[in-house]
Symmetry: D3
Subunit: 303 residues, 6 copies
């Protein structure tokens, strides 16, 4: 069986750490480099419940999308849940490797997985990273077009169905901002919190922005500016993305459950990781995907 | 008729600017101090649609909760929607006054209005401000208790009903995190984005936290830590808020539509403001509350 | 008639915003992009008196050199004179566009206008900006030489006459630091506050530095160092700009009224702007230069 | 004869170093603590010419108002004029002590000396420092009133005469901003660069601000705001300092030569220092005041 | 047997975490709060060799003076020795608690232990902390006096003997700076790196400073200033600590092995900790002190 | 005789100031540029005792390695030893030039001198600086190899002998960390405080690091990580510098007296400087090397 060091080398070839955002510290978090890896378990969040299931499943290595130690720590004791998880992983000889913004940016990573399943073609990254050796374009998010324009409402239903089918939609559901009957064609997808990339999305000139965790102020500001620009363009003043006369408001917004949309990546990872390990080491680890919803919401009340 | 200066003096007696957070700049944003104020219109957000309605309603003064110029600006031209709004307000002689975190903290302000309508008694601020001259306790958020303990799910339905009744619930609805059948008694309420006050809420030891704009990571981290502490307490180790043996997870979370919960304040303001103006100047302005939902979401898809 | 957006596009072709210093935010400050522009008024400062005159003159657009909102603002109400000016501009449908450090650096901008009128030849910028597409060298300030060396006192009188003739010398007058009978040839000109560019001026090795707003300490330090270096060079020790044996003190200093020297730019702008608008849109706006002195000083008492 | 250490102890009792602004480092700059002090020379600036004169006058100690090493240095060699001055002082056994913002703030210091000679009564500091042991109020600048109101133009002429008489007015002269015939009564005086204290002056509500080195933008902004507030007050809206109905613009501005106004202090220091040394040590040093103008300007051209 | 939580509570009563420097994060680093604690092992540094010995000794809890995670970490995997230590501690169910600057400052902590064993009386902290509830004065370092003055060389030999006897002197030995025959009486002791506290030591006016890790520049600067001040005092000029005429150089310096001097604390801790645990829980854990030298040096070559 | 300016020009050709670290300010510190230079004295530190000896030796110029004014100063008076040294240098007409990190990095500078005398071949800088015009590779520190591998203990004895022979070993002696019988071949040398360059040394993969002023924590952390990596490599896991299977711990550490190792440079400088001055000016100054030990330690007690 390959040891953990060999498997980590494979993971960081598929999802290179240098793709990570400067504030992010993905990679190996817990684990003995010399331990054998027979079974790899995939899950969105390293919650306490997920740790239990991974251990129960006999995992030698848990691969999650979300970090356990996003903020650096001075202790890993039982004073907090993070130290308790480190202890349980160590005592059950289960390693933890995190593919966060590095996995977002990679080929067949988080961004591409969502964009593919939403049916986007002619994809390129929203925030490109220059890597001439990558097997395809890499960078945060994906921009693409629908083969045929769709009504915004219909596209939102497709997003719901796909996230629901492959990932795990929570009680929170999906929210839409915009005119539901307008035809949309170009789309930006950023699985995860999307508040901070509105400038890039606006510069891309897309019709719709699909992301998560949008809050009142960034979303309201974006749609107000989009509506103002559309009104000016309708009056013949070119402002924002679009030519004079083009009165379409853009981008519209689709807000998705954070962990659910990111989990779409595992559709690819459960195939790509064992294959790459086998290619590199001659032995293929077993893999399991824990489909558990890890967004925290259990009930939603709407009118 | 009182002039704008006199009305602003009254508003800033009810909702003193010194209560504002250090990063906030509420108060008078647009307006001629010498202009007469006959009609005051209240609304949650100064969106373009709200400006149109206020002007149409003949407003001399628009009072909103959310800022127009939250980030300082170097221009107020038609290059953006904010400058366009300034121009339309000026050309239609309608002033704009913002009661933001100063109104949150005040007596009969945003925090108290929500807490009162949710039925909380024995209230005190979550982040107290020391003002011996205030007519009651002041500060961000409110902590209080329910006269009788309720199941979490029942309390969430009460929150929905009240926000819906008095404010304006958007398509986004209300989300709940926690065990729906557990009895809850103490509650912290923070209308508006609540991610940044988890430390204060945890220190308060309440059973439920009602706020808005909760994102995946802060909410997940909070509930994971809450569940870990409850598990340790159940084993007899006092950790977090609660005594050894008390295995109740706290706080549970209720996520509400941002503008809707904040609009509950206007129930009080449409009474308090004209009365205080009349007391100060001898003349009572007319008041209007624009109930329009200004959260951006128009559709929600849930299972 | 061209609309404001079309005129702004022309102004920002003549005086590109990317030439501005990083701390500066010139460009359109007030105005409706769709409004027609028939008359453009030019003035150094957007003071309250200038606004009155521009409105009285029927301006659709006021072009000033100095900013109205140099420091970003959170409000544009009548609490301060800036908000009052915004209101009066909006209510009188007069836009405001500021050409500040971008206009300083441009071809036929503020620096070149002063250098040309002082008779400097072989000009190049003091702080060059790289723009291969510009019609000539661009950057802050201008360095040039006098066709014939002049006595410092005579050159100072030329500066006074030119500023007075074309611009508007205030009661403050012009001050000179140096030996009045020494012949000078090379000159650096920086219209506006010049304290911060002494290093660049010293590196340029010029005989005279013409600028504004020089304060006691920077000016005294500069002349003390210049005198020390000249004394050392006279002793055969090469120090500063000049070869061993060259005992000339450099640079001498000429302090000019701030707004007056900058106004020399309008000699060019009142020709260049209407011509460029006509070339771009087929219609030529009327132009007016308000020669009013806007430096604040009204009396000077000297011995 | 007292040694330098004993004299420094006396100087720092009269002008305590703890009164200095946080960015200022006054006190002993050059000198052997054990050297005897027979003659003390006073001058505004430690320029090269002043050093020559002090040495020629046989000074054991030079006391200046302006610093030699305001910015900290890594070398005191002949690469610059400052190191050359250090060397000449050391080789001629002349110490240097600087009384800068500590002397500004002291009783019978720079601020009080100017205020006294301008005829102000009922003085108190503009920026008070709390020192219960001081022989009178201490702090930066002085606020006072004229026994009888005077026309602004007449008061400016008094300022000129006093500065000229006791200090040394340079070619730069004195500039006035305001309505020359308006009666003024309350005055703030800040010898030295006054741009940064406009907020304190405005809060003090004085009629005139006498200071130095005022630049175009701070002075223009101040007078524009003052004029706007006066206009509003004239309309019955209380804004700024003054009651509704009071239409007087305030503060007007008087700009004075920097070194000249600060030199007024030596009128007091040449009496106070030798007397205090004698009281402390039993021996009275000789004192000399070098009246040389050290502002850099030698010629002014006005209309 | 008490669980880890109960023992930690006792440790943090003896050595309160609030005494720690602001840059320090001592306390519980690894461990399950519910695990029983039968045996506590003490050692200076949590090196890999110490971990092995502690595990071999059957430790449930290792108490060290030096931190394992001084700089916060984003991972505790086998990529580095720290993560490997965390894993081995977890897998062997051994907790780690660090008493660093909190233990330095406490009553019967690191500073007091060294000062007591060097024979100092009339002790008080070098950097006092205000804690009215402490059983004695607390704060970093200790100042005290020798009952009888000793020659510097003799006192250095006493320091060597005591450190050697009770702690573990490494090959590095002890270094002395000063006149070996001078009598010394007052002493400051700061176990650990002492470069940063020279100001406090100078203010204390002690004859000798005993600390560790002194580097060339801080030590040379300190002794140069001390010698200059002594020379001036000998000439009758009071400078530094000492009266005019007192020509003694102070402070002299004694540099000790870092881990060795700090280990003197365990003389007290192996008594105080089990006693306090017994008092609090009724059960007394076994204790072991690992005397191993953990300074890294194994050979010293001197003349 | 050449004047000081001419000699400084030569020194800064041999040891260019642009090689200095960004935090360092070497070069001319005291001196009259026009003074003749007949005798140059070299010493490690500008201590008070060294100044006395240099003056006694008739020095016109003292060249030291360590700075006098490392931290910038606001005064050079007798309040401190630095000002006293400036005064004595000025009054005795002795200049001071400092070759600090610029001399470390230069060809035949401090790093190369130590590396040559320790017998290293195939040298290159540890932190290279790009200077195509230099006569050889330049940069901080030197990496090289021993012609034949040696036991660590034997190499340490060679270091001691060389430092002792050419420089001046203080009482502090030399300390070694590592297995004394292991064969070492590649060496990094950084004369001066070496705590901050461990990352570069690790990246270089050398067997030994020779430097000064190593403190407990950096040294312990380095050797712990080195030992962990060696242990993992011995198990077949490639970690750190070395291939899988290579179980050698690296780097070992040799700690040397700071001023002594840096003084090895003067072996070269007393030849190179007079020769270069003669080549540039036709006249050869006399040179003296003051071999005095300037590390502060006078006694070491070891077992």
């Amino acid at each position: 069986m390959p040891n953990l060091k060999a498997v980590v080398d494979v993971l960081e070839t598929l999802y290179p750490l240098r793709y990570a955002e400067h504030w992010d510290e993905p990679g190996l978090i817990v684990g003995d480099l010399s331990a054998p890896v027979r079974r790899i378990v995939f899950a969105a969040d390293p919650t306490s419940a997920i740790i239990d299931k991974a251990i129960e499943a006999g995992a030698d290595l848990l691969v999650t999308h979300h970090p356990l130690l996003f903020r650096a720590v001075h202790e890993v004791s039982g004073l907090g849940f993070r130290g308790d998880i480190v202890r349980r992983l160590n005592q059950n000889r289960c390693a933890l490797w995190v593919g966060h913004t590095n996995a977002d940016a990679s080929v067949r990573g988080v961004g591409q997985a969502a964009a593919d399943l939403f049916g986007l073609v002619d994809q390129h990254p929203l925030v490109p990273i220059d890597d001439p050796n990558a097997p395809g374009p890499v960078g945060l998010g994906r921009i693409g077009v629908l083969p045929e324009p769709m009504r915004l409402g219909d596209f939102a239903r497709r997003v719901f169905t796909q996230v629901n089918d492959y990932g795990m939609v929570t009680a929170q559901g999906i929210q839409v901002c915009g005119e539901l009957d307008t035809l949309v064609s170009s789309v930006a997808v950023l699985p995860g919190s999307g508040d901070s990339l509105f400038d890039e999305v606006r510069a891309a000139g897309v019709d719709v922005y699909v992301t998560s965790d949008l809050r009142h102020h960034p979303a309201t500001d974006a749609i107000e500016q989009a509506r103002y620009e559309a009104r000016m363009r309708a009056q013949g003043i070119a402002l924002g993305q679009g030519s004079a006369g083009d009165g379409q408001v853009r981008p519209f917004l689709i807000n998705t459950p954070h962990a659910a949309i990111e989990s779409m990546w595992f559709n690819y990872a459960i195939e790509d990781v064992p294959e790459a390990v086998e290619r590199a080491t001659g032995e293929r680890p077993e893999v399991t995907w824990l489909h558990d919803t890890t967004d925290p919401w259990v009930m939603s009340i709407t009118q």
